[in-house]
Subunit: 80 residues, 2 copies
């Protein structure tokens, strides 16, 4: 099975990459662009076939490695 | 409205960040982890309220700035 993890900065945490994108979009002439935030997308192939066990495993990966839970949120999507 | 863009490396393009995560997960003792790929997640607030026009605008942002279409794919999700 495959798992997809979205890691995003928590609200209130400064996001210089997002701000840079916002500035570049304005510079290119795009109007009406508000806040831009950049996060990470991590796709993992797992041998595990049970969705619940797979999700638990990815949850632990997020806590231990993939996300810095002081400043980042994560969301896990498990695909068959 | 809000748009979410997933930018991922095309198949066959080397992904050193993904490989580093895969190695780190193995080092932490996670078993059964196959291929890992890392991409970008970009969330954009738009003043545009029409979903079709909003999507077209983000599509142009992807082509002109957010994705390098030689090596990257992008997927756009428009949220109300």
């Amino acid at each position: 099975m495959k798992a997809r993890v979205h890691v995003t900065l928590k609200q209130g945490v400064l996001d210089p990459q997002g701000t840079a994108i916002q500035g570049a979009l304005a510079h290119l002439g795009f109007e009406g662009v508000g806040d831009v935030r950049q996060g990470k997308l991590i796709e993992i192939d797992l041998q595990e076939s049970d969705p619940a066990r797979g999700r638990a495993q990815v949850e632990e990966m997020c806590r231990r490695l993939l996300a810095n839970t002081v400043i980042e949120n994560y969301a896990i999507e498990v695909m068959s």
